[in-house]
């Protein structure tokens, strides 16, 4: 489903943010991408969102070479990839319902479709009762759940989460991770970039570790040693 072949990305300074990454993620997998700050994790997410172009190598998603997607086709591509950010990135002047509905308006969904799918999605993330609240009236965990609902409302096959628990306390972080796990069980491929090693260890999923732009470890569940 997601395939990276010899992918490198260098910024103008010349130091590679990612160096010769080879990676294959199958449909329905739950994968953690870990590494220190500046290791290249976020660059990887940006490459997958086609916010950046790799300097070298090929990225294939659902059998489609990202390099061959033209600028005009990027919006259509992004609608098939849900994305969640550390800082939630909600539209501050719109309430919970409108933030989720916005993702549907972008794809030109009818009002009838929006009225049926947004409440369903809000129920799934446990925020049906707060549909009228503005982002500032919600806790960090709730805001992240709105962001997840927005990312999923168009039923993408892939969900990218860039440090989704980075701004949350432990309880909220776990709530979000359980929600992501639930989403994965329904068939969505989930990629989570995180620093939170406690969560990574306890969830027992595939872990990809990047250090200074190089993929240093790709561990499947069950491969893990106790000292990790």
């Amino acid at each position: 489903m997601i395939k990276l072949e010899h992918v490198s990305k260098s910024y103008s300074a010349g130091i590679p943010a990612l160096n010769d990454i080879n990676l294959n993620i199958e449909e329905g997998e739950f994968v953690f991408i870990v590494g220190d700050s500046g290791s290249g994790k976020s660059t990887l997410i940006k490459l997958l969102l086609k916010e950046l172009e790799p300097t070298e190598g090929t990225i294939t998603i659902n059998g489609k070479d990202l390099h061959k997607i033209r600028r005009k086709q990027i919006p259509r591509y992004r609608r098939n990839v849900g994305v969640v950010f550390q800082d939630f990135r909600l539209l501050k002047d719109r309430n919970v319902y409108e933030n989720v509905a916005f993702a549907q308006r972008v794809v030109g969904a009818s009002n009838r479709k929006i009225k049926s799918s947004v409440p369903t999605m809000l129920s799934m993330v446990g925020l049906a009762a707060k549909y009228k609240s503005l982002p500032r009236q919600l806790s960090g965990g709730e805001q992240q759940r709105v962001a997840i609902a927005r990312a999923l409302v168009n039923e993408p096959k892939i969900l990218l989460a860039d440090e989704p628990t980075g701004n949350l306390d432990n309880n909220n972080a776990w709530e979000i991770m359980r929600l992501l796990e639930e989403i994965n069980k329904r068939g969505t491929t989930v990629l989570v970039v995180t620093h939170n090693m406690q969560i990574v260890q306890e969830m027992n999923k595939r872990v990809i570790k990047i250090e200074q732009g190089v993929l240093v470890k790709d561990e499947l569940p069950g491969d893990r040693n106790d000292e990790d």
Binding site: L49, R78, R105, V106
Partner: protein, 302 residues
Amino acid sequence: MRISSFFYTLKQGFKNIWSNRLFSLASIATMAACIFMFGIFFSLATNFQAMVKSAEEGVAVTAFFDEGITEDQIEVIGDKISKRAEVANYVYVSADDAWNEFKEIYFKGSEDLAEGFAEDNPLANSAHYEIYLNDVSMQDALVTYLESIDGVRKVNHSEVAANTLADFNSLISYVSIGIIMILLAVSTFLISNTVTIGISVRREEIAIMKLIGATDYFVRAPFVVEGILIGLIGSALPLALLYVLYSKVVVYIAGKFSFLSNMMNFLPVNEVFRTLVPVALILGVGIGFMGSRITIHKHLKV
């Protein structure tokens, strides 16, 4: 585009104006100031041009006939004159008309003195056509043509009056174009600046839209609606103000400075606004549309 998306875009445009009240107010004020200046200048220029036009209409070329010319020949000359494009209208003045007019001016109060000429018109050879022009700059061409017609003895015209009016007319045109260009450049610059501020405030919002798959068109549309609305309000307000001011100022000047109203006639407010309203609205909406469209283009590369 779906109807629901169209109405959503429209609604967002209105909402954007309200949620960015301060920016919208600044843009509307900028636009209103520019359109107000334009309106004042346009009213002045239109009035000047109307005055020059009416002065031009008073400038006549006089064509006298050969002695002993028949009435039929005079009519043929009249036909030829009427076919000229630069001729607005022409009047036949007979020798008797000319004498009566002369008497009216020079023998007023002593009409009995003029009676001595009753049987012998001293202006017997002064029957003529008075020809009024559409455009005084064409006077020379008409004079040359008249002089070439058989039966025309002499052509009288005032070169100084025609040249002065033609020069004044082209001066007004050049100044008008110059001032309109400056106002356009200034207003486009100011609008572009205010739109840039408004968009940079919402740069994050645009980035979010792009990352969740919004097309450039979807992102741009509410901003363009916003720009058009700002242009519409920013031009409608000064137009309303100018309408009231113009009517009041014309009445005030006519009442306070009666010597001015003898010299010149102000155009009625409706006549000026018949052109000013569509021009100002198109300018306002056009600047709002272009300003927002061009400015947002720079922020869509996410």
